[in-house]
């Protein structure tokens, strides 16, 4: 029950951020991105990423809410439209693991552009796809 309530709260908070950030179009990575990731096809998790461009760096957070994870490094190689993200996050055992994701930005001219790629989280590897809201 508590878990359901927590999930509902996270969804509501995430939706609020999504509504606020949906007005931003300038930098390709700016905005709210939603999608899923996981180590294989049967183990998937939803993810929400909010990013902002201040003219020099991309900043933001993963899964906004009480357990949000702040992005440490995010870059976009505009020559190849490759996105790179790094941060540290606690695993279920509360051990901090390094997270690295690399993906290709597609459908760039659309509000609903996508990033598709792979990630490593500690020793775990997986893939992801996120779509800009």
């Amino acid at each position: 029950m508590r878990l359901k309530a927590a999930c509902l709260f996270l969804i509501l908070v995430g939706s609020m951020f999504a509504m606020v950030a949906s007005a931003q179009q300038g930098h390709p990575m700016t905005g709210t991105w939603a999608g899923e990731w996981g180590p294989d096809k049967t183990h998937r998790n939803q993810v929400t990423i909010i990013m902002n461009w201040d003219g020099k760096t991309i900043s933001g957070m993963i899964n906004p809410g009480p357990d949000k994870v702040l992005i440490k490094t995010a870059t976009l190689d505009t020559a190849k439209w490759m996105f790179h993200l790094e941060t540290d996050a606690k695993d279920p055992n509360c051990a901090v693991q390094h997270f690295v994701a690399n993906g290709k930005l597609d459908n760039i001219g659309s509000y609903n552009r996508t990033v598709t790629g792979t990630y490593t989280y500690g020793t775990t590897k997986g893939d992801f796809k996120i779509t800009r809201d």
């Binding site: 007005a23 931003q24 930098h27 003219g55 976009l76 505009t78 001219g109």
Partner: protein, 297 residues
Amino acid sequence: MRIRQSWTLSAFAMTAVLVPGLSMLILGQGTPAGPAAAPGVPPLPAARGAAPAGGGGRGGRGGGAAAAPAAPAAPAPRFPDGTLRLGALPGLTGTWNGGGGGNADVPYLPWARAISNYRRVNEFEPHTRCKPSGGPRQFLTPYGVEIVDLPELKRVMIMDIGGPHTFRTIYMDGRPHPKDLQPSFYGHSIGTWDKDTLVVDTIGFNEKFWIDRGQAPHTEKLHLIEKFTRTDMNNMTYELTVEDPGAYTATWSRSSAMTFRAGTELFEYVCQDNNFAPELLVGSEVDKVDRSSQIVP
């Protein structure tokens, strides 16, 4: 019939918007524009002085009759206090066209240059999807804009004709920009007169539009300074300074000309959001649609 005519105009507008865009794509960059070179603007009739030909026909499309011989332009009109008028004289009509120009020397940040290049190949401009477009893009429609002086309200209004048929307000009452602006398509504009030049300072833009036809991206940090100087009845210089540290390494400027079309005025222009297939609509010139039925797409 009115609807058909409207969509014929819409189709013409789309063509007028897209073809010059393609030309710019092929040619690489736009060219510094006088009125004749302004992208998206159909050939202008010759200047007709202050008096509107035919009393300003409804619709104000400026076509049909052959252009009259050019006459020397009258001086720029003024209010009794000496302030320049940017709009038409009382009882008359007129619209402004032009305001284009190339973006050859824009100091892009790398991401912005990449986006600009991408847009040149992948045209997906919000304006052609009926979104309002602020800054200089407001002037780059086939039918131009109408500028309305409202000194009693201390405002100047710039009314769109093409696109979403919207307007922009320039506050002339000395107010500052609000501190908690909600980003919008036209931003918040305040204006002051510097002798015979209207200087307009605008911030508070959202990022949902292109600021011009040159595919230049921007961010919410965009700050524009526009200078409007009406040099005579039919001509105005438009100077633009763009500041956006989110997209450019430095401020950049350009200047272009706008021409007054006496006798033209706003008309109803319907642009439907999410209209992805205007070529299928009644009134289009496409022959591929089967119109044998009374019910057509």
